[in-house]
């Protein structure tokens, strides 16, 4: 196996362009190393971008937040900018994996791995995230997060493409958001269901609603019809109950050793009710 340590992002793209399918990119390692150990991956070359500093950042601009692909999950969790502007993402980062792996896992890595339960995906879905992807000798692509995942562990990333950054608009001042993750034990638990909600409230009506789920479909998804039910309406107890019924129709969970599809469906609606009640507390 060969090993390459590019000094910056453009150099890493050049390496990947040259080596093509023989190379595997490694960032923090939590995906690639266990896969090598389990012989799922047998790369001829490793391109180690963990030393590339120029795509590790959290930047606040006038209207957007930009997070570099190599930002670690613990950097996300402790970022003041994210806490201030997008606490739904901080919360997900704090619940990710375990305290040790957070110091190595990266946002880009988490998205590229594309687990249906990917922890950073559900907040990005409700934040309206855009994945900025680059490839050597090609134009930069901006892919809305809803279109980024294709299926379990499959994305639209083409060979040689690397996530440079993720950008999302700064939520408005009427925005309220919440995140929850539900697993079989209190730590180090792969999600049975994860959920992020972002709404904009003006007066007593819900202006905008975004609902993102993980672990209840082949990829992280938005519950569009449920969002529509909320949008433009005064949020009452009855409306929340209706949303919880609607959401069951929008998800397609599987049964596995962790939970049955039925239980996941049940939990999706229970968690949604919980988050909506939490957000619309005064109702």
């Amino acid at each position: 196996m060969e090993y390459f340590r590019p000094k910056n992002f453009n150099e890493s793209l050049r390496y990947l362009g040259k080596l093509k399918s023989k190379a595997t990119l490694i960032a923090g390692g939590p995906i690639v190393i266990p896969d090598i150990r389990a012989k799922i991956l047998t790369p001829n070359a490793l391109v180690d971008i963990s030393y590339v500093k120029d795509i590790s950042y959290v930047k606040e601009e006038k209207k957007t937040i930009r997070v570099g692909g190599l930002t670690t999950i613990s950097e996300l969790a402790s970022s003041n900018i994210i806490e201030k502007c997008a606490p739904v993402l901080s919360e997900a980062a704090r619940e990710f994996g375990n305290p040790l792996v957070r110091n190595r896992a990266t946002m880009g890595g988490n998205l590229a791995d594309a687990s249906p339960a990917a922890d950073t995906a559900t907040p990005l879905l409700v934040l309206g995230g855009m994945v900025v992807v680059e490839k050597h000798g090609a134009k930069s692509r901006q892919i809305p997060i809803e279109q980024f995942f294709v299926g379990p562990n499959r994305t639209v990333l083409k060979p040689g493409e690397v996530i440079r950054e993720i950008i999302f608009p700064k939520p408005g001042r009427y925005a309220r958001m919440a995140y929850t993750k539900f697993g079989l034990r209190n730590a180090m638990a792969i999600s049975v269901v994860s959920l992020a909600v972002l709404v904009e409230i003006e007066d007593r009506a819900c202006n905008k609603a975004r609902i993102g789920f993980g672990a209840v479909a082949p990829r992280p998804i938005r519950a569009y019809r449920t969002e529509e039910m909320l949008t433009g309406n005064e949020v009452t107890r009855e409306l929340i109950a209706e949303c919880c019924e609607m959401v069951k129709k929008e998800i397609s969970p599987i049964s596995d050793i962790r939970a049955s599809a039925e239980y996941r469906e049940w939990m999706a609606s229970v968690l949604l009710k919980g988050l909506l009640q939490q957000i619309f507390k005064e109702k």
Partner: protein, 161 residues
């Protein structure tokens, strides 16, 4: 076919400079244990599920089993042996002994490293924060109670850690 190409790894381990030729696929855990004799770094699962291999990498606690050794190049690694010595044990180590937080002892090196990282970042954690910090370190013997007591006891003291 894989080539047996080796690369040079230069880094600090517990304050000592190490230089070793290794293959790219070798994890930090493997290199520390098998090449450099740091058997205090334990393998409990090899895939981030147990925390037995916790080491500090440039001050941050990480699982050595999922860090490539080459990713530690030019960096500082600290294991439990770098946190305290027989001549000068760290207050955390004294506290673990005093509180009876060690039974079979296999998870202990990882626990000490994680606890050290916690106190470096948060000198006065609450009980809940301690439990959260060690939630990636599994222990099968103690039930965690005395471990948390031992760490909290140091957190409540004035001495530097």
């Amino acid at each position: 076919m894989k080539e047996k190409k080796t690369y040079s790894l230069e880094f600090m381990v517990n304050g000592e400079r190490e230089k070793v030729e290794i293959r790219p696929g070798e994890t930090l855990l493997y290199v520390l244990r098998e090449r450099l004799g740091h058997t205090e770094v334990k393998e409990g699962c090899g895939k981030v599920d147990c925390g037995a291999c916790a080491v500090l990498l440039d001050g941050r606690v990480v699982n050595a089993c999922l860090t490539l050794a080459l990713q530690a190049n030019k960096k500082k690694v600290v294991t439990v042996r770098g946190i305290g010595t027989p001549e000068r044990p760290h207050p955390l180590q004294e506290s673990f002994i005093k509180h009876g937080a060690i039974q079979c002892g296999f998870c202990t090196p990882g626990m000490i490293v994680t606890a050290k990282a916690l106190l470096d970042e948060n000198r006065r954690p609450t009980r809940e924060e301690v439990r959260r910090a060690i939630s990636g370190n599994l222990c099968r013997c103690t039930g965690y109670k005395k471990t948390v007591d031992a760490i909290l006891s140091v957190a409540e003291k004035k001495e530097s850690v």
